[in-house]
Symmetry: D3
Subunit: 244 residues, 6 copies
C-alpha cells in the first residue's frame, strides 16, 4: 500500500515548504510518498492572529485541489483552520501543534514549548487547552526570532533554541521540549542528543500520525460537525470557494 501525505506549508514561502518536506520524509515509513505544498495566496509568514486567519483560504484551496493525498499535515504551529480543513478534506488532517503536544504527552510528565514570537505565546496556550494538555504544558517560551529568519542562519538559530530549551526546562521543571514552529524542522535530532531529553518536532510527529490513521483506515467523522460543508453562494474575491 502506498500512502500519500501532503504536507502543507500554510505560508507562501517556498523555501520553508522544502524544509518541512524534508523533515516529513526523514520519518515517513517505507512506501509513503511525502509531497510539500505551498498555497497560492496569503501571508509570507504567520506571526499574528491576522496572518493566521488570512492563511486559511490558501490552505483550504490546496486541500480542495489535491484529490490524490491520503492525508494532510498542516505545518504551522497555530494549527490554522484545522476544523475547516477536516470538513473539506474528508481525509485525515493533522496540525503540527496538536501532533507535537500529543506526542510529547507520551514521553514524560510535562513539556515546554519553544516558539518564535512573544505575541504567539497565548495562542500556544490556547491550543494546549483545546487539546486537553494544559497541565502537561509547563511553559511556552518565545525566542523572538521572526519566522523567516529561522532559516537564514541555522547555526545561530540552533544556538538560540538550545539556550531557550535549557532555560525552559530549568524554569518549568519539564522533561521534554516541543518545538513551536514549523521552521524549526530539522533540529530535533541534534537537540535531543545535546539536551538529553526528548525534543519533538511537530512536522515529524504529524507525519507519522497521519500515516498511522491511514493504516488504520480512519477518516474524520462525517456524522456530525465535520461533515462536508453545505454548498452555498460566495461572493467577491472569494467567489471561487462556493464552487464544488
Amino acid at each position: 500500500m502506498t500512502i500519500r501525505i501532503s504536507v502543507i506549508n500554510p505560508n507562501t514561502t517556498s523555501s520553508m515548504t522544502a524544509l518541512i518536506e524534508g523533515e516529513a520524509r526523514r520519518v515517513a515509513g517505507p512506501g509513503t510518498v511525502v509531497t510539500g505544498r505551498t498555497p497560492a495566496m496569503g501571508p509570507a509568514s504567520i506571526e499574528s492572529h491576522y496572518d493566521e486567519a488570512l492563511a486559511v483560504p490558501g490552505l483550504l484551496e490546496v486541500i480542495r485541489e489535491d484529490a490524490e493525498a491520503d492525508a494532510f499535515v498542516l505545518a504551522c504551529f497555530g494549527d490554522p483552520g484545522l476544523d475547516a480543513a477536516r470538513e473539506v478534506a474528508s481525509r485525515p488532517v493533522i496540525g503540527i501543534a496538536e501532533a507535537a503536544m500529543k506526542t510529547a504527552s507520551l514521553l514524560g510528565r510535562s513539556f515546554s514549548v519553544v516558539t518564535t514570537l512573544s505575541r504567539t505565546v497565548g495562542r500556544a496556550w490556547d491550543l494546549a487547552r483545546v487539546y486537553g494538555l494544559e497541565r502537561q504544558c509547563a511553559g511556552v517560551h518565545a525566542c523572538d526570532i521572526p519566522v523567516l529568519e529561522l532559516e537564514e542562519d541555522r547555526d545561530r538559530t540552533y544556538g538560540v533554541i538550545l539556550a531557550f530549551a535549557k532555560t525552559a526546562m530549568a524554569q518549568d521543571g519539564s522533561d521534554a521540549i516541543v518545538l513551536g514552529c514549523a521552521g524549526m524542522a530539522g533540529l530535533p535530532e541534534l537537540l535531543t542528543a545535546e539536551l538529553g531529553v526528548p525534543v519533538v518536532d511537530g512536522v515529524a510527529a504529524a507525519t507519522v500520525m497521519a500515516e498511522g490513521l491511514v493504516r488504520q483506515g480512519l477518516r474524520p467523522s462525517t456524522h456530525g460537525e465535520l461533515a462536508p460543508p453545505p454548498p452555498k453562494a460566495y461572493t467577491g474575491l472569494l467567489a471561487g470557494f462556493g464552487r464544488r
Copy 2:
C-alpha cells in the same frame, strides 16, 4: 459625545444586515450612531467551520476601511476572527456570542443556547469554554432552521424558537435563554414576555457593551498579542491584505 458603532454582519446577505442594525439601534443610548456593514466577499451565510473561516477576510476588510467607528460588533454567533479583528481595529470589537453569554451570566444560575444548525452546537460549546462560561452554559439546542430561512417566515421562526426555548429550560434546568444566531435579532422582547425569563440577544448585548467600553475610554491592549500585526508581503487573491 457621539459614539459610532459599526455592526458588521459577517455574511454577505444584506437583508440580514438590516435586521441586525435595527436590533442594535433599539438598545443603543441617546447620541449613539449605529451603522450596519456588509462585507464585499465571503459566504451568504455561515453554517460550517469552512464558511466561518472564509467569512473572516471580508470582515477584516470592513474594519480596515472603517476609520470612523469607535467600536465594532461582529454579528455572527461563532465570533469569527475576533482576535484578528481586535488586532487590526485598535478599537473595541465585541462578538455577539461573547456578549450574549457574558450578559446572561449576570442574570441567573445558568442559560441555555438556542441556535440554528446541529453542526454548530460544538462551536457554541467551544466558545462557552473560551469565555469561561462552560458551567453556566447548561445546554445548546439546535432548531435546525438554516440561517437564511430565519427571516423568511418570522411567525414560524418565532414559534419554533419558543418551543425550543421551553424544552431547553425544562431539560437543562436553566433560568435564562441565549439566542444563538444574529438572525434571531428582534425576537427577545416577545420571548422574554412569553417565557418569563431573561432572553438575551447577542446583537443587543454587544451593542451596549461596545458603547460601555467607549464611554470608559477602553481599547484592546496593544501591549501584547493584540498589538497591530507586523506588516509583510501577501500574495495572490489576498495580496491587498498586506498593504496598510
Copy 3:
C-alpha cells in the same frame, strides 16, 4: 428614557460613597441618573471575610428600601451578598469585581488585579474562578494600603498603585490591569495613559453594564434560585428583615 442607577457603597464611610458616585457619573450615558448610597449599619471598611459578611445586611436594607432604582451597583471588590441582592432587588445588580473582570476579558489575553490588603488576595482569586476567568486572571497583587487610607493622600496612592501595576504586568505577562478596590475609583484614566494598557475600574465598568441591562429590558431571572426569597419569621436584632 431616564435610567436610575443606585451605586451602593457596602461600607459605612460616606466620603467613599462620594468618590464612587463621581466615578459612576463620569461614565454614565446621557439621561442616566446616578445616586450613591451608604448603608445605615455595618463596618467602616471591608478588609476580612468577617467585615464582608457583616456588610451584607446593610446593603440588603438599602436595596429593600430603594424602589426607584432601575439597577444597582455593589461597590466593593468582594461582591458581597451579590446573589442575595439579586433575589431581593428583582432588578439588575452588578458587583464591581464581576464587572471589572468581565470587562478586562474583552480587552486582552490576561489581566492582573491590584488590590489593597494581602488577606483579600484569596477572595479575588475565588471570584475570578466563580466568574470563569481564572485563566485570564494572571495575578492578584496586594499593595497593602488599608482601604480608608486610599483616600487620604491620593498622590501617594497613585504612585504606589502605578508601581504595583508595573510589577504585576512584568511578573504576570498580562496586558491589562484591574483595580481591585472601589476606593481606587478615579485613577484609571491617569493610569491608562501612563501604563499604555487598559486599566479597568469596577465602578465604571459596573455602571455601564447596569445601564446596558436596563436598556435591553433584562432583569435577574425569577424562574429559579434568584426568585424573591420566601417570607418567614426573623428574630432578634435582624427581626426587621423578615418583614416585606
Copy 4:
C-alpha cells in the same frame, strides 16, 4: 482529654438545634462533650441566599461568645459564613456540606445529594466546586420539603427522602448518598440499611472531623487570610460586632 464541640444551628428554631445535637452525640467519641447552640438573631430557617446571608451575624455572635469550645460545627448545608467563622473562632470550624462531601469522597466513585428546596440546588453545586468535588458529586436532587416541615412528620420525611435517594442513584449512577440538610440528621442509619450504600449526614461527619482536628492539635492558619479580622468601627444595628 475532654474535647468540647459546639454544634451551631444557624437558624433560630431550637427544636432543630436539639435534633442536631442528638446526631452529633451519637457519633462523638468517649470523652467528647457536645453542646447545641441557637443564635439570638436571624431567620427561622434558611431557604434562600437572603436567609443564608442574614444567618451569618447570629452564628458569628455565637462563636464570639463561646470561649469554651475546642471546635465548632456549622449545621446548615450552605456552610454560611464559614470563612468568617474561621477568622473569629481561631479554632476549628467545620461546615456540614464540606464535611459530608469530603466524607462521601472516601467511600465510592461518586455521591448524589438529596436536599430540600429546588432553589438551593445551585448552592450545593457551588460548594461541591469550591471543595474540589465537582466530579464526584453526580447529582443534586431537591425533595421540595421546606426545612421546618422535615421534623413534622418524620415517617413521611423518611419515605420521601428514601424515594429521592433511590431515584438519584439510578439517574446519576452514584454509589453513595449525601443528606443535604441538617434537618435530615437522624436518618442515615435507617437509610444506609435500606439502600445498601453509605448515607452520609453532615452533622455526624462534621462532628468526628472536628474531634479529629482537635486530637491532632490543628487550628485554622493565622498566617494568611484566616488571621483574626482587624478591629474597626461598626455602626447601626451591628455596632456590637466592632467590639472585641
Copy 5:
C-alpha cells in the same frame, strides 16, 4: 530499518494474546515485526482494581526480560502500570486506552467508549481525565460481557457491541466510537462500515503510535520521574524484582 514492537497482553490468557497480536499486525507498517507476549503471573482477566493492580508485576517482568523490543504496547484498556513500565523500559510504552482516546480526538468532536463491565466505567473516565480528554469523552457504556466471553461467540459479541455503539452515539451526541477492551480487537473495520463513523481500537492505535515514536527516535524522558527506578532490596515473593 526493522522496528520490533512487543504487544503485551496484561492478563494470562494466551488466546487473547493471539487475537491482539493479529490486530497489531494488521496495521503495522512494512518492515515492522510484531510479537505478542503473555505474562507468567497474574489474573486470567482484568475486571477490577484488584485484578489490575495484580497484573502489573507480570507485565513489568515481560518488559524487563525483553531487550529486543524497540517499543511496547500494553493491551488492557485500564493502561495498568503505564508509568512504572515507562521507567523500566527506557523505550516507548503505549497503553491502549491512551492511544485509542488520543486517536479518536483527531477524528471528531467527541467519542463514546463501549467497554465490558459496569464496574470499569469509572476507571475509563479517570483515564480520560488523566489524558486531558474528559470533554471529548462524551460517554462510557458497559455492555456487561465478561472479558473472556468476548472471544467465545464473536457474532454475538459483534451484535451486542454494535447495539451499544448505536445507543451511545444517540445518547451522547458523539461522532466516533472507542472500543474499551483489548478483547474487542478485530471488530473495528466491520463496525466502521456499519456505523458510518470512525471506530477506534486501542491495539491498532497503540501499534502505529509506537512505530511512529521509534521512527522519530523518541524515548521516554529519563530527565525526571521516568528515569530508571533506583535499585533496592525487595523481599518475599517479589524478591526477584529487586535484581537488575
Copy 6:
C-alpha cells in the same frame, strides 16, 4: 466500643512501621487499638512508580489476612493501590496523602507539600488533582532525602524539612504545610510550634479519619466499582491472590 485500626506500612522496613504506629497512637481516641503492619513481600522503600506498583501485592495480602481490623490506614504518600484495597477490605481504607490533603483543606487557603525525592513530585500533584485539591495545593517541594535516611538522623531531617517548609510557604504564599512521606511522622508538633502554621502529617490525619468513619458506621460502597472483585484464576507467583 473498641475500634481497631490497622496502620499498614506499604514498604517492608519494620522500623518505619514502628514509627508510623507511634504517630497513629498519639492521635487515636480513647478505646481505639492501633496496630502497625508490615507486608511480607515488596520493596524496602517506595521511591518510583515501579516500587509503588510492586508494593501493592504485599499490602493487599495484609488486608486480606486481617479480619479483625475495623479500618485500615495506608501509610505511603503515593496512596498505592487505594481503590484495590477498598475493594478487598470492605471496610474503610484511608490513604495518607488523601487524608493529609483533605485535612489541610480545612485549615487555610492553600497548603504546600514537603516530600522526599524530586521524582515523586509529579505523583503528589496527580493525587492533589484526583482528590480535587489542585487549586489548594500551592506547591510540592522535594528535600531529596531518600525515604530510609529520614529515620537515621532525626535532628538533621527535622532541620532540612523545617528549611524546606519555610521556603515553600514564602514561594507559594501558602498558609499550611503537608508532610509528604510517612517517614516524617512524629515531626508535625515541633514544626507547627516553630512555623506558626498548621503542619499536617498524613498518618495522624488518616487515623482520626478512619476512626470517624467507623463511628459513623460507614464503609466503602459495594454498590458499584468498589464491590468485592469477582473471583478468578491467578497464575504463577501470584496464584495465591486468586483464592478467597
